[in-house]
Symmetry: C2
Subunit: 117 residues, 2 copies
DNA sequence: CGAACCGTACGATGAGAGTCGAACTTTCCG
DNA sequence: CGGAAAGTTCGACTCTCATCGTACGGTTCG
């Protein structure tokens, strides 16, 4: 079991994606994964957030997101690394992840410039 | 009670919208409303679909969609007309309704031409 | 080899959401 | 004025789903 199965992006339906994104924990998970940008250890994903759940619950949510085609899991020795399938999801559902990124958890500052050039 | 309250599009959050869209009945409702394009009588919205629910349930779902900022209700004599707030929703969540339109209920044929024959 | 760690699988539990039926309000029409 | 039709509200039921604790498999390291 070196590889973790995941659905082809072509077979992903919007219904399943919406159901997966309807849960606050999974939404926070996707946002954190998006903020991380890279492969992240599953247990560390929610470290920066205010979400606190058991590891079995986390495993469950990660499975739901993976089955929905939103994230990818890779085996790295003793741990599993997860990452957002950003490009593929954006290709199939243009604007979806972008709007999640812009409409943060409690941040409505849309027009605020980054000032970082 | 001549007017029906609805949230300003500015106050609508992506979380609520996703939760509203996570239900198959409401998803069918939005799609049917999008297909109609115009003001439609509540009872007639699901006429063309395979969804069959009681009127109290329909009323409930319409309320959820309205509270989520996705649809608008207008009083017309004995009945209530509903319509999709397409422009406003697209303005706030670009691509959301478009992707619902393109990814139909069970149709994955994205690039498939009408074939006319 | 054995201990510790990460993640998964498997029930069991509890809260929330969808569904329905009935009663009520409002409006239109004969 | 009285009946019919459309929607809403309310209460109750059901069932899905999120959550947790425990047990298990696999991996790394001392």
């Amino acid at each position: 079991m070196t590889e973790v199965i995941e659905p082809a992006i072509e077979t992903v339906t919007i219904d399943v994606v919406l159901s997966a994104l309807a849960d606050p924990v999974r939404l926070a998970l996707v946002r954190a994964l998006d903020a991380a940008g890279d492969w992240t250890c599953g247990s560390d994903v929610l470290k920066g957030t205010s979400v606190t759940i058991g590891k079995s619950t986390l495993s469950h949510h990660i499975k739901v997101l993976r089955d929905a085609g939103l994230i990818r899991t890779r085996v790295d020795g003793i741990r599993r690394l997860v990452t957002l399938r950003y490009d593929e999801v954006e290709q199939r559902f243009p604007g979806l992840l972008t709007m999640l990124r812009e409409h943060g958890p409690a941040r409505a500052a849309a027009a605020a410039p980054a000032s970082t050039a």
